[in-house]
C-alpha cells in the first residue's frame, strides 16, 4: 500500500501520466480508498438485479484505487475499458452484449486522446480515479453500473504509469520466446 502511494506520488511528480488532458491528483482531491472486486456487489446475486455493497455506495463520488486486469475485448472502445479481478477476454462479435465478463467488472473511463485507442495489457494494473455508481449508457450501447473516472493507471507490480493509448510492445506477448 505504502509502495503504491509512493509510486503514485512519483508518477505525478514526473508527470508520466497516461491522460494528457487530466489534472494531477492533489491532496485537495481527498484520500484514496482501496476497493476490492469482492467489495462491489453483494454476493450471491438475488433473483432479479444486483445489489451494491455498503462500502461501494459509501465511496460513490470519492477517489478509490482498484487493482485488477484489463478485459481483452474484440472491439475495444477508444477511451473505455473494463477491469476485472482476472484478465478475462470477451470474444463475442457483438461486443459486450452477450459476454462472460464477471458482474463485478468495473468500467474505466479515460480522457479521450484523438486518434489513439486503448491497447490491451496483460499485466495487472492499478487504476486510481473517482468512483461513479449508477446506470450509464455509452454511444456504442455498452452499459455500466460501476465506473472509475481514471486519474492514473499504474502497473501494479512496479507502480509505474502505464499509457494505455500507446501500442503494446510485441515482446509483451512473448515473441522473444518463440523458437
Amino acid at each position: 500500500m505504502l509502495r503504491l502511494f509512493f509510486s503514485s506520488f512519483i508518477a505525478v511528480t514526473v508527470l508520466v501520466c497516461l491522460v494528457s488532458a487530466q489534472s494531477e491528483p492533489t491532496a485537495a482531491d481527498g484520500p484514496i480508498a482501496t476497493l476490492g472486486f469482492d467489495e462491489i456487489l453483494v454476493l450471491p446475486v438475488g433473483p432479479k438485479g444486483w445489489e451494491l455493497t455498503e462500502k461501494a455506495r459509501a465511496l460513490d463520488g470519492r477517489r478509490v484505487q482498484l487493482t485488477g486486469h484489463m478485459v481483452r475485448e474484440l472491439n475495444p472502445d477508444p477511451d473505455l475499458f473494463l477491469v476485472a479481478a482476472s484478465p478475462v477476454t470477451t470474444y463475442a462479435c457483438e461486443s459486450l452484449a452477450a459476454s462472460d465478463v464477471p458482474p463485478n467488472a468495473v468500467q474505466v473511463m479515460l480522457a479521450p486522446r484523438p486518434g489513439l485507442g486503448v491497447t490491451w495489457r496483460p499485466q495487472q494494473l492499478t487504476v486510481i480515479g473517482r468512483l461513479e455508481l449508477g446506470h450509464r449508457e455509452e454511444r456504442d450501447g455498452r452499459v455500466s453500473h460501476v465506473r472509475l473516472v481514471a486519474e492514473q493507471v499504474l502497473a501494479a507490480d512496479t507502480g509505474e504509469p502505464v499509457d494505455l493509448h500507446l501500442p503494446l510492445a510485441r515482446r509483451a506477448l512473448g515473441s522473444t520466446s518463440r523458437p
Binding site: L43, P44, K48, A97, A98, V101, R139, G174, S177
Partner: protein, 643 residues
C-alpha cells in the same frame, strides 16, 4: 396473403411474356432483389436455388432500386411467375436516390421453382424490371407417413468432429484401439456431414449458422431470420418465417429454447427473432415475448442474459434506450408490423420484462432450486440464471464438488447444468397436446474453443452429451420424437494431436520452469505411438471426469488459433485471455488468424457432423447443406416419413 392461386407452373409462360414486354434500358436499376437468388446476382437460373421455402412459409419480398439523380420511385409491383402479388408495396427512400420496395409476409403454396420479378416506375415515368427466383420445396412421400410430433434440435455451438472425439477419448476409456463406451450422440443411428457457409462467407458465424435450421435459408453473418438489405435499420430487413412460428400457426406446436449462453445470443435468437444485428439484446429479448410467445407458442426460455429483462435503473440492467447501438431495442416499420401481425415495439429501457413474462403466464426461475420447484402442471417457464452467459460446466461442477467459485459462480452459485434445464423443458413442453420444437444449445463449446481453453470445452461437450442422453431417454418414452444433434459451425480448428508423454506432476514442474518450448513442447508432446491411450476417471457421483489433468493426457492443437501461452494444464480461471495465462511456462504460440483473431481463435469453414435418431431420422444422410436440415425436419414434422 395466400398466393396459392397465383403461383403455378402455368405462370412461367406469362412471366416470360411479361419480361419480354418490359424495357430493360431504363435508367433506374435494381441493385438488390430478395429473396436472394443466383438468377438475380449472376444471371444463373440453374440449381442450386439460393432461397427455398416450404409450402405456406411466409417471407418478405424486397428490392432496392437506384433511381436517377433527384428522381424517385413512385410505383412498384412484384410478380411471381408473371402474376401480380396483390396488396400494396411499401416504397421507402433510403438515401442516395435509392429506394427500398417491400411486400411483407407473402407465402407460396405450390412446389417448384418460381420466378420473381420486380417492376418499378420512376417519377419521370422511366421503368425498370429485374428477375430472381426461389423454390418451394416438394416433399417426398406424402401425408400418409408417420409424423414427428416433437422435434428436438441439439446444437453444440462450434462442435466439430474433433470436439466430439475429444469428449469420447475422455469419457470412453479408449484402449487397444476401441472405446469401451461411446458417447450418447454416437448412438444415434443416422449420420450426415453438414456444410456451413453463410450467404456472404465460407466461414459463418453463429447467427446464420443457426438461423438456417429455423428458416431453411441462408443469411449474412450477424443476421437472424432475415435476408440482407441496404438500410442501417436493424429491424426492417426482409423476414423469413421461423420453424416455430410456422408449426405453431399450422399445427399448433409449441416452441422451447434452452441455452447456456445469454438468451439474446446468436443461436437462441436465431430460432425466434428477426434482426440483422445479433447483438441487439434489448429488442431481441422483447421480441421473445412480443412475437415468439404470441405467434410461435414460445413456452420455455432458459439460459443467461437476465440483464436484458431488468428495467433500466436496476443495477445489472443492460437494457438500451436506442434502436441503433449495440444491445439496441426494437421499433418496427409500420409495414413489418402490419404484414406480420406483430407489435410495432417501443424504446422502453425501463420495461420490466420479467414481470411482463410473468403477466403472460410464465413461471420465473432465477436459479436451479426454483427451477426444481416448478409447480406441477406448469406450461410456461422463463429461466434466467445469470446476467450474462452462464458459467461453464467445469466451473459449475467444481463448485458443486466444494471447490473455489470462479468466473461468476460466486455471484450465481446455483446455476443448473444444461441437462437439468433440458429435462425441465421437456417435462413442461410434453404437456403440449400438439407437440413441440425444442432447441437446446451448448453455447460454450464454441466460447471456450474461441479461448482455446481445452479442458473447458471438453467438459462443455460432455455436458452436451449428457443432455443428448436425456433427450434419447425422452424419445424412448415418446417415440414420435425426432432428435437432431449437430452444430452451427466448427470453432478453432480443433484437433487431437496426441498425448503428453509425462506425468501430471512432471508437466507441472515444466510449466513452472519458464523453459518455453524446450520444456513444454520437446519431451512433452507425444505423437503417433508415443501418444498411447490416455485414461481418465469419471465421478460416480456426478458423472463428470474426476480431473482432466491426468498423467499422459490428450493434447489439442488449434488450426485457427489466436495468440496464447500453452502449458497443457487446466486453467484455474475461466475466460482468461490466452496471451495472459500460462505465462510461467513461457511457451508462446503465435496466432495465425488476422486482426482481432489474434486475441482468440476463430470459426472455420469445415463441415460439421450431424447425428439423428427417432421419428424421421432416416431423412438425414450423406453430405447436406445446412439449410437442408430445416427441410428434412419439416418433412418429418409436417408431412411424415416412413421410419
Amino acid at each position: 396473403m395466400n398466393l396459392s392461386s397465383l403461383v403455378s407452373h402455368a405462370g412461367f409462360a406469362s412471366i416470360v411474356l411479361a419480361a419480354a414486354s418490359l424495357s430493360t434500358s431504363a435508367a433506374p436499376t435494381v441493385t438488390r432483389l430478395n429473396p436472394p437468388s443466383a438468377l438475380f446476382t449472376f444471371d444463373d437460373s440453374n440449381p442450386p436455388y439460393i432461397s427455398r421455402f416450404v409450402t405456406g412459409q411466409r417471407f418478405d419480398l424486397q428490392a432496392t432500386v437506384q433511381a436517377d439523380a433527384r428522381a424517385s420511385i413512385t410505383a412498384a409491383v412484384f410478380r411471381i411467375n408473371g402474376w401480380t402479388v396483390p396488396g400494396g408495396v411499401t416504397i421507402t427512400p433510403i438515401g442516395g436516390d435509392r429506394f427500398s420496395v417491400t411486400r411483407r409476409a407473402v407465402e407460396a403454396n405450390f412446389p417448384g421453382v418460381h420466378k420473381l420479378t420486380i417492376e418499378a416506375t420512376q417519377s419521370d415515368g422511366a421503368k425498370v424490371s429485374d428477375q430472381g427466383n426461389f423454390e418451394v420445396v416438394a416433399f417426398k412421400g406424402g401425408p400418409r407417413g408417420r409424423r414427428a410430433k416433437n422435434v428436438i434440435y441439439l446444437i453444440g455451438d462450434g462442435m466439430g468432429i474433433a470436439h466430439r472425439t475429444a469428449a469420447r477419448l475422455v469419457m470412453g476409456n479408449v484402449q487397444m484401439g476401441k472405446a469401451e463406451d461411446m458417447l450418447a450422440m454416437d448412438s444415434l443411428p443416422h449420420t450426415a456431414l453438414i456444410s456451413t457457409a453463410s450467404l456472404n462467407s465460407i466461414v459463418t458465424d453463429s447467427a446464420p449458422g443457426a438461423a438456417c435450421y429455423s428458416t431453411g435459408n441462408k443469411s449474412n453473418n450477424n443476421q437472424e431470420g432475415v435476408f440482407p438489405d441496404d438500410t442501417a435499420d436493424k429491424w426492417d430487413n426482409p423476414r423469413v418465417e421461423h420453424m416455430g412460428s410456422y408449426l405453431a400457426r399450422r399445427m399448433g406446436k409449441a416452441l422451447g429454447i434452452v441455452t447456456t449462453a445469454d438468451v439474446e445470443d446468436a443461436t437462441p435468437a436465431s430460432f425466434a427473432v428477426h434482426t440483422q444485428d445479433r447483438g441487439a439484446g434489448t429488442g431481441i429479448c422483447d421480441m421473445y415475448l412480443d412475437e415468439a410467445a404470441a405467434n410461435a407458442n414460445l413456452r420455455v426460455l432458459m439460459g443467461g442474459g437476465r440483464k436484458w429483462f431488468l428495467p433500466q435503473g436496476t443495477a445489472g440492467s443492460g437494457r438500451i434506450g436506442s434502436t441503433t447501438s449495440s444491445g439496441a431495442d426494437y421499433v418496427l416499420p409500420a409495414d413489418v408490423a402490419a404484414g406480420w401481425g406483430v407489435p410495432t415495439g417501443a424504446i422502453d429501457p425501463t420495461r420490466d420484462l420479467i414481470a411482463d413474462f410473468q403477466a403472460a403466464g410464465f413461471y420465473y426461475a432465477p436459479d436451479k432450486a426454483t427451477l426444481d420447484a416448478t409447480p406441477a402442471g406448469t406450461k410456461r417457464v422463463l429461466g434466467l440464471f445469470n446476467t450474462g452467459n452462464m458459467d461453464v460446466a467445469l466451473d459449475k461442477i467444481a463448485e458443486r464438488r466444494g471447490g473455489a467459485a470462479v468466473g461468476s459462480v460466486a455471484a450465481f452459485p446455483d446455476q443448473p447444468m444444461l441437462e437439468e434445464m433440458t429435462k425441465k423443458a421437456l417435462e413442461v413442453l410434453n404437456r403440449e397436446r400438439d407437440g413441440f420444437v425444442l432447441m437446446v444449445e451448448a453455447a460454450s463449446i464454441d466460447k471456450q474453443a474461441h479461448n482455446m481453453d481445452t479442458e473447458r470445452w471438453i467438459l462443455e461437450t460432455i455436458e452436451f452429451d449428457r443432455t443428448v442422453q436425456a433427450c434419447i431417454d425422452f424419445q424412448k418414452r415418446n417415440p414420435d420424437t425426432l432428435i437432431v444433434v449437430t452444430a452451427d459451425h466448427e470453432c478453432a480448428g480443433v484437433n487431437i494431436i496426441g498425448g503428453t508423454v509425462v506425468t501430471d506432476a512432471e508437466l507441472r514442474t515444466r510449466a513452472a520452469s519458464g523453459g518455453g518450448a524446450a520444456q513444454l513442447r520437446s519431451g512433452v508432446v507425444g505423437v503417433y505411438d508415443a501418444a498411447g491411450f490416455p485414461t481418465y476417471g469419471v465421478s460416480s457421483t456426478d458423472g463428470y471426469p474426476t480431473t482432466l489433468d491426468t498423467d499422459k493426457k490428450i493434447l489439442i492443437g488449434y488450426a485457427a488459433n489466436g495468440d496464447r501461452y500453452e502449458d497443457w494444464l487446466t486453467n484455474p480461471q475461466p475466460n482468461v485471455a490466452g496471451a495472459a495465462r500460462d505465462v510461467a511456462g513461457n511457451f508462446f504460440i503465435a496466432g495465425q488468424a488476422a486482426g482481432a483473431g489474434v486475441s482468440t481463435a476463430v470459426h472455420t469453414g469445415s463441415d460439421i457432423p450431424l447425428s439423428a435418431g427417432g421419428r424421421g431420422a432416416s431423412l438425414f444422410h450423406g453430405v447436406m447443406d445446412n439449410t437442408d436440415v430445416f427441410f428434412r425436419v419439416l418433412q418429418a414434422a409436417a408431412v411424415g416419413c416412413d421410419d
